[in-house]
Structures are given as C-alpha cells and as structure tokens.
Symmetry: C2
Subunit: 420 residues, 2 copies
C-alpha cells in the first residue's frame, strides 16, 4: 500500500507524500524567505522543522541549510543530504508518525495553507543556460526559418546546442511579464521597426537545478552527471520572435529573451522522479565518448500549456507535450556544459529548450503552433497568432504514479502592456 500522510491529500493533488518538492516562501510579505516543501494544500516550513531539532540525521543535524533565504546551501550538500532530508520528512509527515501529527503547536507554526504564502525564486541563480534539445522543435524552427532542405544544422546531432541566458530577469510564477520593446527587421529601405514586440511567444521548457558544482577546469563525467542534478522546475522562456530574428546573427538570442523568464515555485527532486524514468531516444549518429552514457534516461513528465485571454473566464489548452521527447538528456547537457572546463555552481539553472513532441498538437511554442503566425490558433472564439496583452499563459506538469501524481504545480505569467 502506498505511503500516506496524516495531512489530507486529494487524489488529483500534485503534492502527495511521495513528492515533497522544495520551494522558498514568505509566510507574509513582511517576513523573511525560508525553505519549505509542499504537502497537499500546505507548505511545511523547514526553518521551523530545523529549529525544532527534527532534522536529526548525521548530515543535517549540524547544518543551517534550512535557515537560509534560498536553497543553495542545501542543494550544494549533494545526494546523501538530499536522501537524508527526504527520509526525515517522509517519516515526519506520514500517517503513523506522531511527532508532528500530535503536536498542535508545531503544526500550527510549520504547516501553512499554500494560498496564504508568497513564493520566491527558490535558488540564487548564478548562471542560467538554455539548451535546444528537442529535435521536433529544432526541426520545426529550421523549416519555418530556412525551409525544408536540411532544417536541422549539422552540429545539432553531435552536441547539445545551448546559449547563455540572462539570470537577472528570472522571475517566479505569477509575476507579470511586461511586453518588451525593441528593434525588428527593417522593411525595404526604412530604418528598423522599433516598438512593442509584435511576436511575443511562450516556450514550454523544464530546467535542471544544479546541486554540487565542479571546479573550473574539472569536467563532470557523463556517468556521474546525475549526482549533480538536484531537481527540475517548469520554465517559460518568454521570447520576442521579432526582436530575436533581427538581433540574433551572429551571436545568438539576447534582448529577444532577456526581458523575463518564469520558473515554477516547486523544485521536484530527481529522487521523486525516479519511478518515472524512461529510456531516452536512440541517438544516431552515436554521441562522442564524453556524451555516451551507460544508461541514457529521460523522464515521463506530461506537460500542458493553457492560455487565458483577459476577457475569458476559462483558459484553453493549446498544447500537450512530454519531457520524454528530449533528444539530448539532462545528463548529456550537464556533461557537455563542463567538458571545456566550465564550472557550474549550486543553484545554476539549465533549461531544456522548448519541448515539442512529434505531433502538431504537442508543439511547445506559438511560433510552431501557428507556424509563425500563418495558422492562427482558436481559443474558445478568440484567435491568436502570438500573445496579446492580458493573456495569461499557464504551464503544468505531472507524472502519473500508481494511485498518486508527482506534479510540478503550475508556472504562469500574464502579459502586461509595454510602458509608453
């Protein structure tokens, strides 16, 4: 029989005792940020649990990692500490354990209704890297921009292509996204277009939160890469297609992306995702030895994107995809990132790139879904080529277990107009 918590968890909840994802929150806007885990409709305040001396395992007993305003210190501790924390918390929250269940005072201090707290970006992100690891997305973009002849460039099948992203503008789910202004392609002999982006898009991604990093000059071996991954979040890599298309040669995306990137509040640990590991797609040509892993794995995480136009009461599903569609695995991304000696630091964020599946209805952004605006989407009567002001974009993701879900909750943001 599946492990149960003394806290009631609805059957469709993303947050049963099997999940226990980590986040950072403030109980009230005036209080200081602290780590927590989700359980049903509650957040368990880990600073209270630590202060009560309930992290009594050998590693965490003497650590102040849960008294920090972010999770960096905890994720830096590595797998033994993560396992110890999970064991402690699963025991503490289980139906049969009285320590917290029967302590009304501690329950009141440490268990807060999730709709009463404010979430923050859970880690201080030193560097943010974005990969381009879905073959379907890469192919669709190639066809849209360069035609059906060789839509995927030669290097793509040999290495997980990536670029450095902007860390400062990463925001937590629920933060409004201000439509960026910028330059677009000139028409004829006119100067370039300048104004609010006319092709604002979402990108359905997930992202790795790096645990222990590596020293500069010391690459991470592909078969040890999983030990450097603390967990995953949902991520919306908002993109201004018109700004991007004009600026990106020859040095890549810059202002077309750096106006905002949204992450979900909850980091689902790799350990919680373990039961949902699946074989990664076969790679042809075979990867070079430094990218060849003993057991190439993806995770079966169902993803969904909904859009809610301002004037609508309900949102409308625009795509359904799955993390398992990635061609390059999370561990290949990490090993490639460090092969030149580049150092990762705890809390670094590695985006997967847009996760598109093989079917048209599993495409991960409007660029693909509307074929660059040529085939507008219908949303309960409204139509969309790209995002309009007032549109709210809501990602969700979850794994279906035997009698429970391991979910990521949602990752959302609403478009607000450019400043005048």
């Amino acid at each position: 029989m599946a492990l149960k918590s003394f806290i009631e968890v609805r059957p469709d909840s993303h947050f049963p005792i099997q999940n226990l994802p980590y986040g950072v929150f403030k109980p009230e806007t005036v209080s200081s940020p602290r780590p927590g885990v989700a359980i049903g409709d509650f957040v368990l305040d880990l600073s209270e649990i630590a202060s009560a001396g309930l992290f009594d395992g050998p590693i965490l007993k003497s650590s102040d990692c849960f008294l920090q305003p972010n999770l960096n210190k905890f994720v830096a501790l590595g797998k033994p500490a993560w396992k110890e924390a999970r064991a402690t918390l699963q025991k503490l929250l289980s139906a049969t354990e009285p320590t917290l269940r029967d302590n009304a005072n501690l329950r009141q201090k440490s268990l807060l209704p999730v709709d009463k707290v404010q979430f923050l970006v859970p880690v201080a992100i030193g560097d943010y890297t974005d990969f381009f690891s879905s073959m379907h997305h890469t192919k669709n973009c190639g066809i849209i921009f360069r035609g059906t002849q060789n839509p995927i460039l030669q290097n793509w099948f040999h290495l997980p292509v990536a670029y450095h992203g902007r860390a400062s503008s990463i925001v937590i789910s629920g933060t409004d996204i201000i439509r960026p202004r910028g330059q677009g392609h000139p028409t004829g002999n006119s100067p370039p277009y300048f104004g609010p982006s006319l092709k604002l898009d979402f990108e359905l991604e997930m992202a790795t939160i790096v645990g222990p990093g590596n020293e500069l000059g010391k690459p991470i071996d592909i078969n040890e890469a999983a030990d450097h991954i603390f967990g995953l979040v949902l991520m919306n890599d908002w993109s201004a297609r018109d700004i991007q298309a004009w600026e990106y040669v020859p040095l890549g995306p810059f202002l077309g992306k750096s106006f905002g990137t949204t992450v979900s509040p909850w980091i689902v640990t790799l350990e919680a995702l373990e039961p949902f590991a699946v074989d990664a797609p076969k790679q042809d040509p075979p990867p070079l030895p430094y990218l060849a892993e003993k057991v190439p794995r993806n995770y079966d995480v169902s993803l969904e994107v909904r859009i809610k136009p301002a004037e609508h009461t309900d949102s409308c599903v625009v795509t359904r995809s799955n993390l398992k569609h990635l061609y390059w695995t999370l561990t290949q991304q990490l090993a490639h990132h460090t092969i030149n000696g580049c150092n990762l630091r705890p809390g670094d964020l590695l985006g997967t790139g847009t996760i598109s599946g093989p079917e048209p209805e599993s495409r991960g952004c409007l660029l693909e879904l509307t074929w660059n605006g040529q085939e507008p989407l219908s949303l309960n009567g409204a139509t969309r080529k790209f995002l309009e002001d007032g549109d709210e974009v809501i990602f969700s993701g979850s794994c279906k277990g035997n009698g429970y879900n391991i979910g990521f909750g949602t990752c959302s943001g609403k478009i607000v107009p450019s400043p005048p």
Copy 2:
C-alpha cells in the same frame, strides 16, 4: 600644478593620486577580502580607513560598504557616493594633508606593498554580457569567415550586437587558463574532432562595471546611462576558435568562451577617465532615437598586448589598439541592453568586444592578427598562429595625462595544458 601624494609615485606609474582605482584584495591568503585603492606601489586598505572613521562625508559616514568582501555595495550607491569617496581619498593621500601622512600606526595598517597582497575579482558579477562593438573587428571576422562581400551583417549598424556570457568562469588576472577540450568541425564523413582546442586565442577587451542597476521593465535612458557606469577594467575574453566555429550556429558562442575570462584587478572610475573623453565616431546610419545621445563619447585609452612564450625571458608586443576605436559607445551598450526591460544589477560586467583599430598592427586577437592562422606572427624568433601551452598573454592600458598616467595596470594569464 598637479595634485601630489605624500606617497612616492614614479612618473611612469599607472596609479598616481589622480587615478585611485578600486580593487579587492587579501593582505595574506588567510585574511578576508577587503576593498582597496591603488596609489603608486601601494594598496590603501579601505576597511582600515573606514574603521578609523575617516570616511566622514554625509553618505559614507554611516555606510559599511568598505567592510564588505566585494565592491557591490559601494558601486550600488551611485555617483554622489563615488564623488565623496574620491574627494575623501584624494585629500587623505595628498602631500599636504597630515591625517594619514603623519600617523605611522595607521599608515602601517592601511598601506600595503602591492606585491605582497593577493587580488580577487573586485565585484560579485551577477551577469556578464559581451558586446561586439568594434567595426574593424567585426569587419575582419566577416571577411575571414564569409568573404569580402558584405562582411558586416545588416543589423550591426543598427544595434550594438551582444550575447550573454558565462559569469562563473570569470577569473582575476594572474590565474592560469586551462586549455579547453571540445568538439571541432568534422572532416569529410568522420565524426567531429574532439580534444584540446587547436585554435586558442585572446581577445583584447575592456569592460564596464555597472553601478546602480534598474528595475525589471524600466529601461535606462541613453542620456542617463553614464550615471550607471562605475568604471572600467581590462578584460581578456579567451576564445577557442575551433570549438566556437562548430558550435555557434544558431545560438551563438558557448563552450568556445565559457572556460575562462580574465579581468584586471583595478577598476578605473569613469571620473578618473573624464579628462580622456573624446568624440565617438560619427554613426551612419544615424542610430534610432533610443540610442541617440546628446554627447556621444569614447575614452582615449591606449591598449597593448604582449605575449611571453614559456621559453622566452621577455615578452613581445603583438598589438597596440585604443578604446576610442569603438563604434558603439559604452552608454549605447547600456541603453540598448535595457531597452527591452532587462534589469542590470550592481557589479554586472559589460564587455566591449574585441577592440581592433583600423591598422593591421592594431588588431585585437590572433584570429585577425594571423588571419586565421594563415600569416603566423613572429615573436623574437618563435612563431604563433594561435596560443601554445606556456604562453603568457599580458594586456596593459593607460591614458597619458599632463605629467601623469591614468592606468589600468595589467591583465594577464598563462595557458596551461588540457587535463589528460
């Protein structure tokens, strides 16, 4: 008559009382990092000056910004605080002021020989951006890679092209650079090359240290951009040309750059550079209004690169260039960076891109100097297409004033072999 310090400053020194650049150092490897300014062959320990209560102006009197392990808190305070600190320090160090001059105990605690201390990267760098603002560099690269027909792409004359760089691998001058391993272009039907980079290069750059940042969604006006610049450093944007050439389409440079970037220890303030401001080049086509500044200015900073092969006693000058050759100004870079709403934070680093001048002997990297290896350089008998293990690359930069120099010191690094 020029202002003089009671500390002896050699006529060719980069660090007279007119300069006073800021850095962060440790008196011994075991001590904690602290801010300092350079004066002649000494570092003035600002934590000692602050603890002695000598920052007695209205802003700094009650600030602990000089008791921090980096300069972020100080640079975030903005221009009024910078002016106050400079006035205080110029007075304190002047020949006619007895406070420090005649206090043997304080002098001993606060004035340390520069060769006895260890320097650190002076700011915690949240994000590092690298521009591509020299027209001569852009043109040379265009000809080398795409031929003489339209070597400069259309967007380049309308916006300062840039990409996000990697912040984690920024190191202080004097740090060894480990030759990166990575993939290079396949030959024929073989798999891609994999191994130590065969085309390791330097890039002669300078970089802006951002002072006060801006809120997400609030662009910085071009005519206020200078107030957000604390000062400049020398920067070597080491580049593995073979890795870069294979990986960079379509998302830009990644592992070809992220193995290491070297900055000089001293940040020369914009105020110290003020006497060396010169007119920026005329821009044709004229920039869009958000990039059109009332007084477009560059700075006249002479730059020099020397290489010292391991087996040589002396280094050899390989190029002489000047910051004034930039087409896009530092303030245009900053205004463009934020026009989409992207937020800058205090301590962010904005590289200029390789600074090449119009003459062949002012080219800012080996790619250009050897024309991609076709015309090897002669270095006192040795020849170089690209950098070899053991080569030390030394940048220096200075402005010639009336009877004094405002200098940046050096920015150096030595190439060490890839791990096996």
